[in-house]
Symmetry: C3
Subunit: 454 residues, 3 copies
Amino acid sequence: MQRMIKIILLTATIIGVTAVADMSFAQDPAAAAATEAAAAPIPAAHTTFVFNTLLFMIMGMVVMFMAAGFCMLEAGLVRSKNAATICLKNITLYSIATVMVWLIGYNVIYGVDEGGWIGTLSMWAADDSKALDTGYSASSDWFFQMVFVATAASIVSGTVAERVRLWPFFIFTALLTGLIYPIQASWEWGGGWLDSRYGFSDFAGSTLVHATGGWAALAGALALGPRRGKYGPNGQINQLRGSSLPLATLGVFILWLGWFGFNGGSQLALGTLSDAIAVSNIFVNTNMSAAMGVMTVVVLCTLLKRKIDLSMVLNGAIGGLVAITAEPLTPAVWQAALIGSVGGVIIFVTTPMLEYLRIDDVVGAIPAHLFCGMWGTIVVPVTNSDASFVGQAVGIGANAAFVFTVSLAIWFFMKIVIGIRASADEEDRGLDDSEVGAPAWPDFSGEEKIQPAE
Amino acid sequence: MQRMIKIILLTATIIGVTAVADMSFAQDPAAAAATEAAAAPIPAAHTTFVFNTLLFMIMGMVVMFMAAGFCMLEAGLVRSKNAATICLKNITLYSIATVMVWLIGYNVIYGVDEGGWIGTLSMWAADDSKALDTGYSASSDWFFQMVFVATAASIVSGTVAERVRLWPFFIFTALLTGLIYPIQASWEWGGGWLDSRYGFSDFAGSTLVHATGGWAALAGALALGPRRGKYGPNGQINQLRGSSLPLATLGVFILWLGWFGFNGGSQLALGTLSDAIAVSNIFVNTNMSAAMGVMTVVVLCTLLKRKIDLSMVLNGAIGGLVAITAEPLTPAVWQAALIGSVGGVIIFVTTPMLEYLRIDDVVGAIPAHLFCGMWGTIVVPVTNSDASFVGQAVGIGANAAFVFTVSLAIWFFMKIVIGIRASADEEDRGLDDSEVGAPAWPDFSGEEKIQPAE
Amino acid sequence: MQRMIKIILLTATIIGVTAVADMSFAQDPAAAAATEAAAAPIPAAHTTFVFNTLLFMIMGMVVMFMAAGFCMLEAGLVRSKNAATICLKNITLYSIATVMVWLIGYNVIYGVDEGGWIGTLSMWAADDSKALDTGYSASSDWFFQMVFVATAASIVSGTVAERVRLWPFFIFTALLTGLIYPIQASWEWGGGWLDSRYGFSDFAGSTLVHATGGWAALAGALALGPRRGKYGPNGQINQLRGSSLPLATLGVFILWLGWFGFNGGSQLALGTLSDAIAVSNIFVNTNMSAAMGVMTVVVLCTLLKRKIDLSMVLNGAIGGLVAITAEPLTPAVWQAALIGSVGGVIIFVTTPMLEYLRIDDVVGAIPAHLFCGMWGTIVVPVTNSDASFVGQAVGIGANAAFVFTVSLAIWFFMKIVIGIRASADEEDRGLDDSEVGAPAWPDFSGEEKIQPAE
């Protein structure tokens, strides 16, 4: 009897365990029903998938809206006679980025082999056959990556404003968004050589997005030369005042808003406890860095100038935002505050420096996006032990060499072949007249108010 | 012994399976605890519910913000002497839409019988007693539907600007948002005759929202006649330039942002793998169509005019957005690009056509919302096999016949009974003076800056 | 045999149940696998956590954007000669709020003992060690609370515009955001005496945020006195017209958008059926109250004035929004409509009342935020039986006494010690000249367009 009970116990145990184990393979109807009751119709992986996809969509939307931010910032900082042209440029460059990232850009970035130098030259099409494995919808990822490319292009338009002709700018934008940005982004975000060999670390793109835009802008400014009247014959520097500081301020607020998406969305996932915590830490650091960029410029202006230059304060916010973009996750809040503060100092110091060098950067995009972008990138290893100063320097250098050289070549090639700059007369009358054929603010700028249509 | 073991095995199996099966009914405490650990306190249906409700809320917010987009677009495209009036109209029309959709609109749309022609004339109140079954909160759905109605009303205000008096416009808006829009929307989205008999397909409202707004606007333009000075006595067409192209551009960027909500939210669900993928595909197509609308107008202007007309480019974006709205899900990306591109062509061709017909559409809303809306609707069957050209034509025709006839009747009735147009003198001085009593831009438009209050 | 079967059945039952029970402790590998299949990697509590954190982030973003809304509203309602200064103030005050809420504000609010009067004077740092218990990420909560504090500070800048000097305003902002707001918020939202002793109820801050901003603004207006030229010597009241009604309107649309986040996010949770329903009900009520605020002012202006004052209509929207903020959840839709409508009446009645009292509130912030805030707070018990009129009155009174007294003391102390008001000459030339050194709209306001840089 003893033995029989042992057999029974053993048998029952095996059966019981087997029955439960069956649940995990859902072969037993009862077990399957139990599983269904517990989790149907959404297994947890689906929930994570929806969260991640939603993150890309929401954050992508606010990054898309940064196009409006750049547009307002630039429309506010150019003279009214060029404000319609800069608006036209901004809506068109976003459209060009959309088309080029679709036609070639996306697969140039992500079609790269591990450790490679460039992806494939092929058109993107949504493929969600393995979406559950990747953890997000392919289209949501494409959208999020695309708006990043558009951001880099937006940076350029501000620097070269008030003198570049429309079509040369559009051609440059197409090359920037279809090839230049994607090639260097593939090195890191596509898993190419910068990532695999040097462990370069650039969370949301201080270098890959902002310095890229900055180098392209600097090349454009050099190829174009300064606006007429900006620099006098005897080293005189003239201020060509922006037409609307309220619109410029609105632009910066929109950019600030968009940056929560820019940095927060770059966590690339939301659907787990740790991802949700990471995104919200990024929010706090991003906001803090921007605020300290503002405060630093306000204090420096108060101490060193008699008045507080609003344009520079606005750039202080952008400088703080760009600086934290390379690593918005690992810094403690006080470190984020310091990173942004140094960003503000860079704005304060380098903006007049560019003027001293007689480089004409209409909206101050080079200090904000290029210099603060490099600062943010090089400081990453201080808070993130996965990065090294050597790797960061290599990344900054490679980005600089490639983007600046290629951009300069394209601008100068176009300068020789088709011409990139409006004539002196067109520039004096304003590009709104020569390129758009309509004044931006006709009622206030002394233009005729009723004109016969063509 | 053999037999006994068989009995034991069988018994144990039954017991084991029963124990597991009990889990699904949660009658056994241990089993219930296991279920609770696995999924409590949110069953999967709750997760889906929260996702769907969140979709309505987020997307509804950005669609609500389209009211600001229309307001800026219109304030930028009217002359400064009418800019305050158009702002007043836009914030009031949104408020009227809110109140009317609550008082009668919502139940006119959704209280309709299957195959019917009109819903019930009753006030909406949130009923979430079966919310888990519907899959979303009743209030989130109401909010999302309401902002769609407001969008249709926003379309009208631009076309009839600079000459319509405030209260006739408000009365028309109340009828449009309380009855005209809801009645025709009930035919399709409420499950009425267009849906059940003709399988009409209009995903997010190219016809039901945008053409509705367009027909109502056309009726208003015909009843009002053109602005003074727009058309000269000898067939001359004058351009009455908008006061701020930067604000108009901002408006279009806001609309573009809002359209992700407009089309994406119209998936009406987010909480499953396939819904999340659908919404992000809609994002990509919506964005692509708008971008190609812009690019097409830019290229056409470059080829056929000497200059690139910013107002028309802005309308190209809207035309692309409206065109893809009838079916943003089924087209491949290249098809979305083509649909938007044709939208751009329509803007380029029909804008001067309206001027030739001496119809005065201040902001170009009729080409963008009406013509591109019809184009987007008729092309649906090319990518969506559930739709037919006959069904689409019937839908377009029914919408046209109903909305245009009723709108025209209302506008003309008001014209006779109370008058709809400002006097010639008021129009010359600007409606800001006669209707609002305050200039929109007093510091720049040569008005007195200090005036005694009443 | 009978007995043996009984034993077998009993034994098997015990074994089966034990096997299943093991699942909940995950000690048995097979059982653990089953649990994993059902719910891994996200247990339900994690899903709720992500939803709640996402709510704080999304809603926090749109509340952050309210800073842009206030900025545009105020830039549009001041004269163009002070528009750059008001922009500078708005971006700086948001930055100050960020820094102060980090340094002391947050822990003053939430470090308070139950029933206490003030929290701890210590720096905030993210602590997510118990995040799953609290149900949201610490950083997302900090961000959401911080943008509320910034909102209160934004209210002040509008009232004291066009005459207050920059640094006294910044100092006041630092004290307001670091101490004044946090101390009184700790009484209620931190669980202090107002909450525990009086059951004061202020859902999203009609009193704690808006009346706080309003009292601080009123104190500032009294300390500063009215702008030069606002009130004539014989009781004459002059209108000093705002420079851009379109920008002011844009500001209100942005605020309206942000208010969905302000009130909706104050549910503080999204991850359950009831929370999602609550947030969407709040959306509907918030929107309805604002719409009725607008409609009420439109109707009152039509009936009692000949023209419809856009500035007042804009304030009607804000008044409706502020009024519903104390309790956006419990009112039925018609009650929300009534609450907003009374808000509109308050705007219409009290705006001229302040002028009669010769208090100069440049943007009408005191009627909108203070008077409508008190109205919204006192009416809570009508729809929410957890609140009492006594408790509400105590809360309103305590907030008034503390905020107004302390603010007045600070403003007058600064007035004596450092001076708070620009000189008469600076005020006449505009603060953009004396404080910023750059005109806001140089092309239109008759300033020199090219000036030598410093």
